[in-house]
Symmetry: D2
Subunit: 335 residues, 4 copies
Amino acid sequence: MTEPTPIHHPNPAGVKRVAVLTSGGDAPGMNAAIRAVVRTATFESLEVVGVRRGFSGLHRGELNLLGPRDVANTIQRGGTILLTARSSTWRTPEGRASGAKYLREWGVDGLIVIGGDGSFHGAHYLQQEHGIPVIGVPGTIDNDLYGTDHTIGYFTAVETALDAVDKLRDTGASHERVFVIEVMGRHAGHIALDVAVAGGAEEVFIPEDDKPVTDAVEIVKESLAKGKRGSIIIVAEGYPGGAQGVADAIQAGTGMETRVSILGHIQRGGSPVSSDRILASRLGEAAVYALMDGRSDVMVGRDSGGICYTPLHETWERRKDVSRDLYRCAKTLSV
Amino acid sequence: MTEPTPIHHPNPAGVKRVAVLTSGGDAPGMNAAIRAVVRTATFESLEVVGVRRGFSGLHRGELNLLGPRDVANTIQRGGTILLTARSSTWRTPEGRASGAKYLREWGVDGLIVIGGDGSFHGAHYLQQEHGIPVIGVPGTIDNDLYGTDHTIGYFTAVETALDAVDKLRDTGASHERVFVIEVMGRHAGHIALDVAVAGGAEEVFIPEDDKPVTDAVEIVKESLAKGKRGSIIIVAEGYPGGAQGVADAIQAGTGMETRVSILGHIQRGGSPVSSDRILASRLGEAAVYALMDGRSDVMVGRDSGGICYTPLHETWERRKDVSRDLYRCAKTLSV
Amino acid sequence: MTEPTPIHHPNPAGVKRVAVLTSGGDAPGMNAAIRAVVRTATFESLEVVGVRRGFSGLHRGELNLLGPRDVANTIQRGGTILLTARSSTWRTPEGRASGAKYLREWGVDGLIVIGGDGSFHGAHYLQQEHGIPVIGVPGTIDNDLYGTDHTIGYFTAVETALDAVDKLRDTGASHERVFVIEVMGRHAGHIALDVAVAGGAEEVFIPEDDKPVTDAVEIVKESLAKGKRGSIIIVAEGYPGGAQGVADAIQAGTGMETRVSILGHIQRGGSPVSSDRILASRLGEAAVYALMDGRSDVMVGRDSGGICYTPLHETWERRKDVSRDLYRCAKTLSV
Amino acid sequence: MTEPTPIHHPNPAGVKRVAVLTSGGDAPGMNAAIRAVVRTATFESLEVVGVRRGFSGLHRGELNLLGPRDVANTIQRGGTILLTARSSTWRTPEGRASGAKYLREWGVDGLIVIGGDGSFHGAHYLQQEHGIPVIGVPGTIDNDLYGTDHTIGYFTAVETALDAVDKLRDTGASHERVFVIEVMGRHAGHIALDVAVAGGAEEVFIPEDDKPVTDAVEIVKESLAKGKRGSIIIVAEGYPGGAQGVADAIQAGTGMETRVSILGHIQRGGSPVSSDRILASRLGEAAVYALMDGRSDVMVGRDSGGICYTPLHETWERRKDVSRDLYRCAKTLSV
């Protein structure tokens, strides 16, 4: 094998300048994605405009040129150097028209939006109404986007939650207590399921499943009977009643000392783990190439075949299921 | 300098066998303290009896011999291998009489209790009523024991809370939000104050101080005016109203998006940091030597002069204040 | 979606008792794999025999029953509770005959070997000569086994190396120095490549590629010219001359202060990250099912289609290439 | 207790503008110290000039104003935002004269130097020759400065080394190997001793002690005889022969597989732990106050009495010994 010579990507769309923004909830790895956009563009002799504060900044004209040194030493940083915000103005045609005007003034040939499905809605309407090419990059810790095996930030969020579970297990096992731990995931149990398997939890409750909270009571009783010291139960925030509901049921049904821990926003922060940095690097690069290829209104993602493209509207219309097989495995291994 | 030859400690009390237990809330470094007790005793040719589940296990007779290999590979472990529990029976004379009987049956010459002031109460009464020598070792994350500069577990708890603050700052700065973070400390602001200084927080609320919650509103307004992106406010759990009260006031007074994070029990877990392991090693050793010296009813601690001894009752009767100077510094540096 | 009911796996091979060992260099996640074997077997009402010290212990008869509680609280532990060793005796027919005798005495219906290709050789010959069914589980940090996308331990090793790179970048950027960092990988550049992309390195040298060490001189000169503060160069240990050779060339060619860091065995240790724990859980389960299905002389792995099976001899005869595309990306993004 | 009102420090020296630089090897917490200097000065209505690249930048005139927002979000960062360098020119009277000229041009009333004893030499001569007030702040991971209990960066370096020891113990225990680990400390065994106690090492070799390398052979033999699985030996880099010498002796004397790990520069990097951030915050503040008090040619430090001042020349002329008591404890607990 010899070193691959980086060759320049063809540019049939004649792109000269791309814009990039981050939108919605921040996710670890967003900086790595911004960096990849800027560096790839630089390699291809394109210019990059950074938009601050997402769509909120776009309709107010917070645009600036971003060079390759501006993103130096950012790949390991949590958060987003471009800032993010939620914007109600963007949901109005006037807001989007104002954004389109700024993009035209800056001579932007395409916009890359790093965020979740709410952000992709915003991008989709910009393209529909103003014809500006847009590419979505999946950046959200929840991993709930159809069209990519994983989203940027997901791996780090799982790792942060798992670290908390390991810590709680120390204290739970010492006190022979039950810990009910709520992880992020308003609509999806991806984080919860991974954390349950990796954390050796006794049970997991996710929004995709309708099993009753009383199942937890049986599990905890069985654990005691098997001689387990303490139990760990994982609950996704979207499960009805949340961790508190599950804990109340256990306390009522077993009399065991039951503690609740709601991990919350720490799951959004921290230096991204390697898998998120690599995924962000690949998708940031792919987003620039997609614009050069003349693509628009699609999200770049990665599946087993490599880079893939999904129409933006499918990312919210279609559902990415959790793995039934992993769900089953979680139960088998807690025997 | 030449290597100090470990010399054997004099044993005027003629101790042959010591018992050790952990009690109350667990704290990182308790295993390092148990290990130090066992290893020091072994070095001095004494035997060690480990009591499981604290005073609860003591009055039920859960005693076993502990050898030096039983504590191998535990110095880095969170929690306590001897388990811990709270015991209502121990608060009765009958419970303590039962514990005393077991200690006599096992030929124990003295009991080492690793825990907080509640546990020291239990030890104190055992010694008062049954004449069994007892030594306290300060093991609690709150650092609220008079008679020692620091308690075992405190350093790790601060580090865990600080790691969470760093993560929340990532997301807070990206969204330009206020984060109000509640750390442990029911009666004391030690953790909160250290975390506030080390985390670069804008403000800190502790139970020792009676300042009104509305101070937070002013601080957040000033921060905005200075151009700070987001604010971090630390609240000890013992501050009236807790983090939620502070956050409600900020939201009402500024209209800024304010998020609450209650770190909770993760602060008890995790592998102990070096300072806790070293402190636990020193105090565990000192506890065995204290029994050999014929001491009883005292807690071993460390202050600037080295090992010190404080009557158990003083540990709860006297108060260890937070550093006014550090409190002042927290404010100066948030300018 | 409803919760999948764990259903029992068919057992056409009539397996009643399986043995498990870890062999070769240890890897984070081996304990999670052992746990998965034990728990899956328990769920399926099979018994498990744990062999200590790998093949070395097998031919000496170090076998013991392992129950589900024996693996409690191990999923997060580095190393291997079954210990590992390299065995020259196992390379002799007499050694293997002795191991086979012990397995028969213990009534073992199949042996699960967690390790790398050297260990799979040992398993293969045992099956060839004595007809004992064997299943390989890929446990090695190097990720250099054909037949699985990833090996157990790989993700953690990358993360550990990346953490070191982040730390060295702090000091490298402050001093405007070049750091040449050697990561594990005697025959393969998988770790090096992932760390290079995730660590934002300027260049990477891997054994699969024959590019000359002098390329590093050009890269460092270009970095300086672009205004970069310090450079990070990643070298896999199998690249001829290693990190020291690369550093010597840079120092000679540029006069810049160049430091070498050889990360070494820390990459084998530490609590496994979630991806390794999950992979180990899946593969440990799959190994038990493979024996129940009557399979033998194969390695269980995971690729995009899920669980897959590869004849053991192919795992060392065929080569798993590093991703050319990732290699190219590493260069593009260091622009 | 009521909240302490921050009161303004008296300024008899009439200081209006202070300069700050970092010099020598970087240490985690240097940024926290810079931040404390800037924020304290701001609170006191003084101005701050930041000097880049230490004395090397000073004699070349790399000076800039630093405001309170310039140090926002830096308290948790490793390295130094002011950069550091070693300067041979500064060792010449001409170099220092050039630096003095720039400080006068910028109207600087005093210079704060964050670094080790080499840097304090440089500061001392500047003050001697040009009458510019200088204050030293102890910033070095080695903790080898007389006049302060701890130096900024020391706690983090110990933690980083300890984390590596924990990882190596995982693999060492699995393979029943000896690991000889070299930590930083060219002239002092502080890091080595703390890491040995906290890491549960079997033996430690430090430059302050002249014990022969063959002691390690006895220790390893005894460990084996006691049934320990693997041994951990810590060696400070300043011990003659280093880790390699110790390992060679063990291998020759016991035949056991012995591995060397030289941790190197990773000990300089990483986000500072809380103790370093707090120490840096206190000392940075104290340095500004020292200038306002009219002090010069001293280092600010912390001992049991709080802030203390030591003439710069004493910091290198006098020796800070390692704790004999801790050294003894390390041996007792490895029984």
